[in-house]
């Protein structure tokens, strides 16, 4: 069979199996769906939160609330960029929107570690507690990243590696925000390293397993 005949046969076959399709919602709507899941986890965790202490901690020094704003915006914009890059024809440059909030998150967290005056009413995080934080960050990030990847698989990510990394960054940012609800400690270098390790692990997991799933989804 000649190539043109093969193409014609393929076109006829594809047209023969055509069914009406439901258009994919916009990246913002899809981001909102994922953020609802983050919010639900937040509502569950808020049962264990001392809101008065949390509010005092965040208001006491700018680096505390700035790092939280950075993490929250990283989660939102990285998730949006992941959904955006999962649609053919949308610019991969969208990924850059996640960079400024991620920088804010990293810089504010680093500034917290370098700060000489401790926050009144808090203690530095005990060394062994950092492991608990790492566990929490991974345990929360992985289901969030899985949910995000599952939603992304409905699209057709042409750059699965980039999309998977953004999904990992979004999940790590969200997990870091959620951790604040149950983390009554002042910032320490250990804390920063644990966060960094957790973020990199989640991104690496997404880059490996998530990319493979997204790659399969587009074929």
């Amino acid at each position: 069979m000649s190539d043109t005949a093969t193409q014609e046969a393929l076109i006829d076959r594809l047209a023969g199996t055509l069914r009406p399709v439901r258009r994919l919602p916009s990246p913002w709507k899809r981001t909102a769906f994922w953020l609802v899941a983050v919010l639900l986890i937040g509502i569950v965790l808020s049962r264990f939160t001392d809101f008065a202490a949390l509010s005092a901690r965040l208001r006491s020094v700018p680096d505390m609330w700035l790092s939280q704003v950075g993490a929250a915006l990283t989660a939102i914009f990285a998730a949006w960029a992941a959904f955006q890059t999962s649609v053919p024809g949308r610019s991969p440059q969208a990924a850059w929107v996640a960079v400024p909030p991620a920088l804010l998150w990293v810089c504010a967290s680093t500034a917290g570690c370098l700060r000489l005056t401790p926050i009144a009413g808090t203690v530095p995080e005990p060394p062994m507690h950092a492991i608990e934080c790492l566990k929490f960050l991974l345990l929360v990030s992985v289901p969030l990243a899985s949910l995000l990847t599952w939603r992304l698989m409905r699209a057709c990510p042409l750059r699965p590696g980039l999309t998977a990394v953004l999904a990992g960054l979004a999940s790590a940012g969200a997990a870091s925000c959620l951790l604040t609800l149950i983390h009554p400690f002042d910032a320490t270098a250990d804390d920063l390293l644990v966060h960094l390790l957790a973020v990199l692990t989640v991104i690496a997991l997404c880059r490996g397993a998530g990319k493979r799933l997204l790659d399969r989804a587009r074929k």
Partner: protein
Amino acid sequence: MAGPSEDKAIPIDDRALAELMRSAQAGDKAAYQAVLRASVPIVAASARRTGVPRDAVDDVVQDVLLTIHRALPTYDPARPFLPWLRAIAVRRAIDALRSQGRRGAREADDEIAYLNHPDDRPDVFEEASRLGDAGRLRAAIATLPPRQREAIEIIGLREQSLEEASAATGSSKVALKVNFFRALKSLRGRLGNDPDV
């Protein structure tokens, strides 16, 4: 297939294609066929521009048609259709180039095995003379590409050895054999005695 500027030569109305895609998303099979047919030359041109070799362009086109089918829900008819299509075409072309590169790194040519591999299919020249089709054979040879014609004339008709043919033409023995077998395949197809063609 036409040249790389084909998508410019064919009048392609992006808005019309977007409308066809909208209908296709609603289940209109005729609109879907129309949009897929219109996509073929655009995809082929994108693949060639990306550097896909001529003989692999059709594979990329088929891959892209399958991807369009899979990605149909992701198209937003409020946006132009061609950037959506070209993004898929370019990525598929890059995938094809990468997979070709991987295959090239994995596979090694065994020149001696290739040269000594026997072809157990019927001899096209004997078959043609048995059927009294020498005229058709000559006409079919005349339509072959120059390198294949040269190989078939020297090795097949003048019955020179590969060494002699290589010395006479300045081509390597492998290149001559490849062109000779490609020519035989074409001739079998044209003379209608190859079940594979």
